[in-house]
């Protein structure tokens, strides 16, 4: 199995889309697509991150020979348990329940780390709008009050004229 095939298999087993994986790795979806098609290889840092995300060893991800050797000697494959499919020395490659619990918070923190400007920007915009809106209400109310006053004056003037 090539790196791309393994990556695609791991991603699909985890039920992730290319978009989600791309977001987790801070790369474009096109980059993930190219990795899966074995057109390019990710940087070392990304490979480490992929191994962490899917709880597999770097060895499994990068070594094609290991898999082929296992196929050649099925006994060896039996000894390593799920080594053929489950890549991390017999461990299930689905994330553990503990990891699943930690993920949303960790994901949020990573998202904040990368896209902090979204929070600052939208925060400022809403803060500014929240300051302006009461002023608009005051202006509207004042306008209405002024209208009433003018109306009263005009009414009074009309009465006087008649």
């Amino acid at each position: 199995m090539t790196f791309g095939e393994k990556l695609q298999q791991l991603r699909q087993q985890a039920g992730w889309s290319q978009d989600l994986l791309a977001e987790q790795l801070d790369v474009s979806r096109q980059a993930v697509s190219r990795w899966e098609r074995d057109e390019t290889l990710p940087e070392t840092e990304k490979v480490v991150r992929i191994a962490q995300l899917f709880d597999v060893s770097l060895d499994y991800l990068l070594r094609q020979e290991q898999e082929e050797a296992e196929k050649a000697s099925p006994r060896n494959g039996e000894q390593t348990g799920q080594a053929g499919q489950g890549p991390c020395h017999g461990q299930d490659n689905a994330p553990s329940s503990e990891e699943k619990e930690e993920r949303p918070l960790a994901r949020l923190l990573r998202f904040l780390e990368r896209r902090w400007y979204l929070f600052v920007g939208w925060g400022l915009i809403f803060w500014g709008l929240a300051d302006i809106l009461p002023l608009l209400f005051v202006l509207l109310a004042a306008n209405q009050a002024m209208g009433n006053i003018i109306g009263t004056i005009a009414g009074g003037g009309a009465l006087l004229a008649s």
Partner: protein, 46 residues
Amino acid sequence: MQMASNALPVTLFLSLIATPLLKVVAGVLILYFGHRHWKNNRSENG
């Protein structure tokens, strides 16, 4: 007295209109440049 009457509209303008508008503009600029920076720095090839 003259100064106080001149300062009032300026203060009102700054506190009621200019500062909130500045916040909105700053927010929009941060979003724009932040997104541009993030997009440029995002690795295309991993």
